[in-house]
């Protein structure tokens, strides 16, 4: 029966051409949307690698003040640590978690070249963000004396640079690895877990003035106001801005989710249009094929056979369209378009194919049931 339906649809290909183009176009749009969704969902399920709930990013801007900056930077650190409401403080570069800033650099090891996110941090970073190490240790001030700068890398960087080698103590691009952490997705859950290198901040660095302050449980906004007030009094002419990471995370999520939601809404309208079109075409097709329905009933088809025939026909039609769509879609994983993992595209293809089959089935169900109720004697007599 399937072969019969394939032949029937193939022989009607000119009649169905526009419908097939419509399904094909819907598949491609769905594939695009599904790629975005699969990419973001697969990122989302990867652990973030750190905690952010009670952490504030306090940004100090010295404006026109250029006097004794190293001392002032140090004083800020000591003052922040002295607050009883503060659990730990860490200083880091402007690309702090959930910020808009990014720093990338290429690093090399044994002819392997890897692009990695660089974060300049201090010895208290892992403790402040509650980041467990999977190998080695976090760097300390004692590590600064050596020939190579101490770094901690994440597991992605380890896999990319060292493959099966133990990275501890290894040197790459003038950095010496002292520890390995698991994940680090600084831009939030929707970020790809990419290679990351944590470089230790040395005493000469006076330009990075972001302090990550981890507060004790129960600390409220009163403390935030007091902290800003006291710091502003202490550092005349400086600006102090507090960004709870929990708020920055929401902003980062919006940056990812808003385009996806807009695309989803546009795509939903498109699919509704396609569904209505399909529904109309199927209704018309059934009305035009009453004689055929009557004949099939007369020569042995049950009402159920007739109903399933129309559902199966639309599946065949969708299969033809999807085969053409797949010719395009498979180019994405094969040619590594947008540098996404092949699994994302394969997942997106599967999702888009599933939605198309679901949609056409839904559209075919009612007209096909109507077809099944056509009385054979009446349908044959009409001709």
């Amino acid at each position: 029966m399937i072969r019969h339906l394939f032949r029937l649809i193939w022989n009607k290909k000119k009649t169905h051409a526009l419908l097939m183009v419509e399904i094909w176009a819907s598949f491609l749009v769905l594939f695009g949307l599904a790629s975005m969704i699969v990419f973001n969902v697969s990122n989302y399920v990867e652990p973030l690698g750190f905690t952010y709930e009670r952490v504030w990013a306090v940004d100090f801007n010295n404006n026109q003040d250029t006097t004794a900056i190293p001392d002032k930077v140090n004083t800020i650190l000591q003052r922040l640590k002295a607050y009883p409401e503060v659990e730990s403080v860490s200083r880091m570069s402007s690309n702090f978690p959930f910020s808009a800033s990014t720093m990338n650099n290429g690093v090399d090891y044994k002819k392997r070249h890897v692009m990695a996110h660089f974060y300049t941090t201090d010895a208290a970073f892992a403790q402040t963000l509650d980041m467990p190490l999977v190998a080695g240790r976090w760097y300390t001030k004692a590590d600064l004396g050596g020939k190579y700068k101490p770094v901690v890398i994440n597991r992605k960087a380890q896999e990319a640079l060292f493959v099966d080698e133990n990275p501890l103590g290894k040197v790459f691009s003038n950095f010496r690895v002292v520890g390995v952490i698991d994940n680090f997705k600084a831009k939030g859950e929707f970020m790809t877990n990419a290679p990351a290198v944590f470089e230790m901040m040395d005493g000469k660095n006076t330009w990075d003035k972001i302090y990550l302050v981890k507060t004790k449980p129960g600390t409220d906004a009163m403390f935030e106001a007091r902290l800003v007030k006291e710091m502003s009094t202490m550092l005349v002419g400086w600006n102090v801005e507090v960004n709870p990471l929990i708020d920055s995370r929401k902003n980062q999520h919006n940056l990812t989710l808003v385009p996806v939601i807009i695309f989803l809404i546009v795509c939903s309208f498109l699919l509704i249009n396609v569904a209505l079109g399909l529904f109309g075409v199927l209704n018309l097709s059934i009305a035009k094929r009453r004689s055929e329905i009557g004949l099939r009933r007369a020569i042995g088809a049950t009402a159920k056979n007739v109903s399933w025939q129309f559902v199966a026909e639309i599946w065949v039609l969708a299969t033809f369209s999807l085969l053409f769509g797949l010719l395009f879609a498979v180019q994405f994983p094969l040619m590594h378009v947008f540098d996404l993992a092949s699994g994302v595209y394969i997942g997106a293809i599967a999702l888009a194919v599933g939605i198309i089959y679901g949609l056409v089935t839904l559209c075919a169900l009612f007209p096909s049931r109507q077809a099944a109720t056509i009385h054979p004697a009446v349908a044959l007599h009409e001709e």
Binding site: H4, R297, A298, G300, P376, E383
Partner: protein
């Protein structure tokens, strides 16, 4: 073979009731070639639809091969139509988007036990039987009316049914073509098929074994004919 007892068929709308068949009692024996005649609207096609289980009577009972079938489910009726009955229609009812061979194969698609290769072979044999083995890849639009009806006959006989029901099979054809079709039907009957044919054509009817006359839904005549 087929027995109709006290058959009545009433068509009801919200405003009107039409009695299409009234108290029909009929037995068609195995190997018979019966024709049903009567003026337009007298219930000939309705009677044929009831005999072919395409329509249910309002009253009365039908039995095929001694088995009462009135209470059969849709599935049982479909199986019976598929395996024991073959239909030929005035307007052929061929599917224009399928080749001649594919059209003939259709009844066999509803028999799960027949393989694709067997289907092809049986369809080819049926087409040979009606003299159309050289037209298997043609489409209905490429055929004349007589050829179309021969394809329809091949489709009716492909499943080797015991009973062939023909609803004005020569109605859309000229007399030469009509005679050709009737010859094919006579040949099938000679080979043992039971045939019930609705016709308007007295000359055609007289070439069958039995003539049943209907008038206003009532059977007004049932004559056994002697062929010259």
């Amino acid at each position: 073979m087929i027995s109709l007892t006290n058959i009545e068929k009433v068509y009801r709308t919200s405003t009107i009731e039409t009695l299409a068949l009234n108290n029909i009692n009929l037995h068609i024996g195995q190997g018979e070639f019966a024709s049903i005649m009567g003026p337009s609207g007298c219930g000939k096609s309705t009677l044929l639809n009831i005999i072919g289980l395409l329509d249910a009577p309002s009253k009365g009972s039908i039995s095929v091969g001694g088995q009462p079938v009135t209470s059969y489910s849709d599935q049982e009726m479909a199986r019976l139509r598929n395996q024991r009955l073959g239909f030929i229609f005035q307007s052929f009812h061929l599917i224009n988007d399928l080749s001649v061979l594919d059209n003939v194969e259709i009844p066999l698609l509803y028999r799960k036990q027949i393989s694709a290769a067997q289907r092809r072979q049986m369809a080819q044999e049926a087409l040979e039987r009606v003299g159309l083995s050289n037209r298997v890849k043609h489409f209905p639009k490429q055929l004349s009316g007589g050829q179309k009806q021969r394809v329809a006959i091949a489709r009716a006989i492909v499943g080797r049914p015991e009973i062939i029901l023909a609803d004005e099979p020569t109605g859309n054809l000229d007399s030469v073509m009509g005679n050709e079709i009737l010859s094919i039907l006579q040949g099938l009957n000679n080979d043992g098929a039971t045939i019930v044919m609705v016709t308007h054509d007295e000359a055609m009817a007289k070439k069958t074994h039995r003539l049943i006359r209907l008038f206003d839904g009532t059977m007004v005549g049932d004559t056994t004919l002697t062929l010259c």
